[in-house]
C-alpha cells in the first residue's frame, strides 16, 4: 500500500446543499459510505480533520401526486422521486407519512441486501446516494462502502448487492471499494488495540460481526436479526403495527428497568437477540479452523442504532457471563458515535488507501 502520509487535498465547495458555507472548504480525497438497511450515511474529512456525516433514511412510501403536490413537497422540504409517473416520498418523512396513513414504509434493503424484486429500489438508491455524496472531488475518488458479510441464517448472496452498489458509485465517478460492515467498525473503534478485537454493527435488518486480528478479518458473518426483528416480534406479541413497536422501542426504554408490559416485551426480545448473537459467534469461532490465537484478552465494540437503547451494554455483559465464550475478553463497550461508526470506518479505510 502507498506510504504518502495524507490523502491529496482538493479544493472544492462544500458538498452541503444548504449553501450556508460560503468559504471554500478543502476536503481530503476519499469517502466513507454506510449502506445500511435502515440508514444511508456518508462521511468525509476536511483539511482540519473535521469529519462531516450526512444521513438519509433508507425507506420510502408511495403516494398519489400531481404537479401541485410536487411543489408543495419541495416547499415542505420533503424529498420525492417520480418514476414512470408513480410518486414516492423518501427518507424520514416517509416514516411520518406511514404513521399518519397507518401503513408500513417500503424498505429497499429490508432483508439485508438490495432486493431484485423491489422494482423501484435501484433508481431511488441512486438518487439518495447522489444527494449524500454529490460528485467526486477528484477523478476516481475512492469510496469505501459497507457490505454485509454472508448470513448464517438467511438465504441471500451478497455478490449481486455488491455489484449493484459498485455500479451506481462507478456511474457517479467514484472508484467503489466494498468493505465488510463489521470490519468498518473495527477500523473506527479498535485503533487503540491495533485493530484487534470484535466489532459488531447492530443494525435494523441485521447484525454484522467481525473478529479482527491486527486489522485483518479472521472471521466475518452476519445474522438476519436486528432492530426490525425486535419490532416485528414485539408487534406480534402486543397486537400492534411494527412501526408503533419501533416508536415504543426508540422513545427511551431502559432494558434494566422496563416500566410496563410493552417495555418488558422489548426487553425480552433484546435479551434473546443478544444471546442469539453471542451463541452464533461462539459456534462460528469453534467451528472454524485457523482462528488466530489472541495472546491477550480482546475488546468487543458494539455500534449501530440497535445498540443505542438504555442498558444495552449491561444486558450484553449479562448474557456474556451466561455462556462459555471461547476467546478471553477484557471489556465490552458501545461505540462513541454508534450511528456513524460504519461510515467513519469506511472513511478511515478510504483515507488510508492512497
Amino acid at each position: 500500500m502507498g506510504n504518502s502520509t495524507e490523502g491529496s487535498s482538493v479544493g472544492m465547495d462544500s458538498p452541503s446543499t444548504q449553501g450556508a458555507t460560503s468559504t471554500a472548504v478543502k476536503y481530503e480525497s476519499g469517502r466513507g459510505l454506510d449502506v445500511g438497511t435502515a440508514n444511508l450515511a456518508s462521511a468525509i474529512q476536511d483539511g482540519e480533520g473535521n469529519v462531516t456525516i450526512k444521513i438519509q433514511r433508507n425507506a420510502f412510501i408511495d403516494i398519489d401526486g400531481d404537479q401541485y403536490t410536487k411543489n408543495m413537497l419541495t416547499k415542505l422540504n420533503v424529498q420525492y422521486v417520480a418514476i414512470n409517473g408513480k410518486m414516492v416520498v423518501v427518507g424520514d418523512p416517509a416514516f411520518e407519512l406511514a404513521n399518519i396513513l397507518n401503513r408500513e414504509t417500503r424498505r429497499p434493503m429490508k432483508g439485508g441486501v438490495i432486493s431484485p424484486s423491489e422494482n423501484d429500489a435501484m433508481p431511488i438508491e441512486k438518487i439518495l446516494l447522489e444527494n449524500l455524496l454529490s460528485s467526486p472531488h477528484s477523478p476516481n475518488e475512492k469510496c469505501y462502502f459497507s457490505v454485509p458479510a454472508d448470513p448464517i441464517d438467511a438465504d441471500f448472496n451478497v455478490v449481486y448487492h455488491k455489484g449493484v452498489f459498485s455500479g451506481i458509485l462507478k456511474k457517479m465517478g467514484f472508484e467503489p471499494k466494498p468493505l465488510l460492515e463489521g470490519h468498518a467498525v473495527v477500523f473506527s473503534e479498535l485503533a487503540e488495540d491495533d485493530f484487534t478485537g470484535i466489532g459488531i454493527s447492530c443494525g435494523g435488518g441485521m447484525f454484522n460481526i467481525c473478529v479482527s486480528y491486527k486489522s485483518i478479518p479472521a472471521l466475518a458473518f452476519s445474522t438476519a436479526r436486528g432492530g426490525d426483528w425486535i419490532d416485528r416480534n414485539v408487534a406480534t406479541v402486543l397486537g400492534i403495527k411494527a412501526s408503533r413497536a419501533t416508536a415504543i422501542k426508540e422513545r427511551g426504554v431502559n432494558l434494566l428497568n422496563p416500566r410496563n408490559r410493552e417495555e418488558e416485551a422489548v426487553e425480552i426480545y433484546y435479551r434473546n437477540l443478544i444471546s442469539y448473537t453471542l451463541e452464533a459467534i461462539k459456534a462460528r469461532f469453534e467451528a472454524s479452523t485457523g482462528m488466530p490465537h489472541f495472546p491477550e484478552p480482546i475488546e468487543i465494540v458494539c455500534s449501530g442504532g440497535t445498540s443505542m437503547i438504555g442498558g444495552f451494554i449491561e444486558v450484553f455483559q449479562d448474557e456474556f457471563q451466561a455462556i462459555k465464550f471461547p476467546i478471553p475478553v477484557k471489556s465490552i463497550r458501545r461505540a462513541e458515535d454508534p450511528l456513524f461508526s460504519v461510515a467513519k470506518g469506511c472513511l478511515v479505510a478510504a483515507l488510508s488507501d492512497v
Binding site: K54, N233, Y269, K344
Partner: protein, 326 residues
C-alpha cells in the same frame, strides 16, 4: 384483783415495840410518832397511784404494741398489694411484647405474599410473551417450509430450462449462431434472460469440472457491475426485475458451487466477452424511462462526528509494519 392488803397487820408484824428508856439510853431524845390510820391512808394512796400509773403504763405499751402490730399489718398489706400490682405490670408488658411480635410476623407475611404475587404476575407475562413468540416461530417455520417448497419447484423449472439449453448448445457448433437461435426461440423479454442463463450455465459446468471459485465470483461481480452501469443508464427497463431475479438465483448457485471448489484458473477473456455480449443484448433495446426528483433541492441531515485522525495514523503505521512500536 390481788387479795386485799391488811395494812394494820402489816404494821404490827413488821414493827417492834421499844421502851422509852431504851430509847433514851441509846441517845434518842425525841421521836416522831406516826398515826397508824395515816400510815394506812398514805399507803393506800401510794398503792392507788402506783396502780394508776401502772394502768396508764400498761395502756401505752399496749397501745404501742397495737400501733406496731397495726403498722406491720398495714405494711404487709401494702407490700402484698404492691407485689400484686407489679406482677400485673409484668403481665401486661409480656402481653404487649407478644402482640408486637405477632404484628411483625403478620407484616412480613403480607410483604412475602405481595412479592409472590408480583413474581407470579411477571412469570405469567413472560409465559404469555414466550407463547406468542413460539406461535410466531411456528408460523415462520411454516412459511419457510412453503418458501423452500416453492424454491425447490423453481429450481426444478430452472434445471429443466438449463438442460434444454445445454442440449441446444451441444447441437450447435457456433456460439453466435446458438445465441441467435435462442433469441428467436424465446419470447422478446425471455430471450435476454435465457441467453444469460445459457452463458452462466456453461460457466457453471466449467466450475463443476473443478475450476476456481474466487475467479468465478470475480466474473460475476464484473458482470453485475456492468448491470448496475447499464441500469444507471436505462433507469427502469420493463423486464429488468425478472432478469434480476433470475440473476440472483444464478449468482446464488454459482456462489454455493464456488464455495466447494479449490483454487484454479481465472476467468478467461472468453467468459468476459460473452458476458458483455449478453448484457449488451439485455439493455441496448430497452428505452430509457423518465425519473424526476427534488431530492437534490432538499437539504439532508448533516452532523459533525468525532475525528478519525488517530485511527488513520495507527492504521497507516500498521500497514507499514511498525505496529508494536510502543
Amino acid at each position: 384483783m390481788p387479795e386485799t392488803l391488811d395494812i394494820q397487820k402489816v404494821i404490827s408484824t413488821s414493827t417492834s415495840n421499844v421502851s422509852i428508856d431504851d430509847l433514851t439510853r441509846k441517845g434518842f431524845k425525841q421521836v416522831k410518832v406516826l398515826n397508824q390510820a395515816l400510815i394506812t391512808k398514805l399507803i393506800g394512796e401510794a398503792v392507788d397511784r402506783v396502780l394508776l400509773d401502772r394502768s396508764k403504763a400498761i395502756t401505752r405499751d399496749e397501745r404501742d404494741k397495737v400501733i406496731k402490730e397495726a403498722r406491720t399489718q398495714f405494711e404487709d398489706l401494702a407490700k402484698q398489694r404492691l407485689e400484686k400490682e407489679r406482677s400485673r405490670i409484668d403481665e401486661l408488658a409480656a402481653a404487649n411484647g407478644a402482640l408486637k411480635a405477632e404484628l411483625e410476623t403478620l407484616r412480613k407475611r403480607l410483604a412475602a405474599t405481595v412479592e409472590v404475587q408480583a413474581a407470579r404476575d411477571q412469570a405469567l407475562a413472560r409465559t404469555a410473551a414466550l407463547e406468542t413468540e413460539l406461535s410466531g416461530r411456528k408460523a415462520e417455520l411454516d412459511r419457510l417450509a412453503a418458501e423452500a417448497h416453492r424454491a425447490r419447484e423453481a429450481e426444478k423449472a430452472l434445471e429443466a430450462l438449463r438442460a434444454r439449453l445445454e442440449a441446444v448448445e451441444a447441437a450447435a457448433s457456433h456460439r453466435e449462431a446458438e445465441a441467435s437461435r435462442l433469441r428467436s426461440e424465446l419470447g422478446e423479454s425471455q430471450r435476454h434472460a435465457g441467453l444469460l442463463e445459457g452463458q452462466l450455465a456453461a460457466r457453471t459446468e466449467e466450475l463443476e469440472k473443478g475450476r476456481a471459485a474466487p475467479a468465478s465470483e470475480a466474473v460475476m461481480e464484473k458482470l453485475l457491475e456492468k448491470i448496475g452501469d447499464k441500469l444507471g443508464k436505462a433507469a427502469q427497463p420493463a423486464d429488468v426485475s425478472k432478469i434480476m431475479l433470475s440473476l440472483d438465483g444464478l449468482s446464488r448457485r454459482l456462489a454455493s458451487l464456488g464455495s466447494g471448489g479449490a483454487g484454479g484458473a481465472g476467468a478467461g477473456p472468453d467468459g468476459e466477452l460473452t458476458a458483455e455480449f449478453a448484457l449488451g443484448a439485455l439493455f441496448d433495446t430497452e428505452k430509457v424511462e423518465a425519473v424526476e426528483s427534488n431530492v437534490s433541492k432538499v437539504k439532508v441531515k448533516e452532523t459533525q462526528a468525532t475525528g478519525v485522525k488517530g485511527a488513520l495514523a495507527r492504521l497507516k503505521k500498521l500497514q507499514q509494519g511498525g505496529a508494536d512500536g510502543e
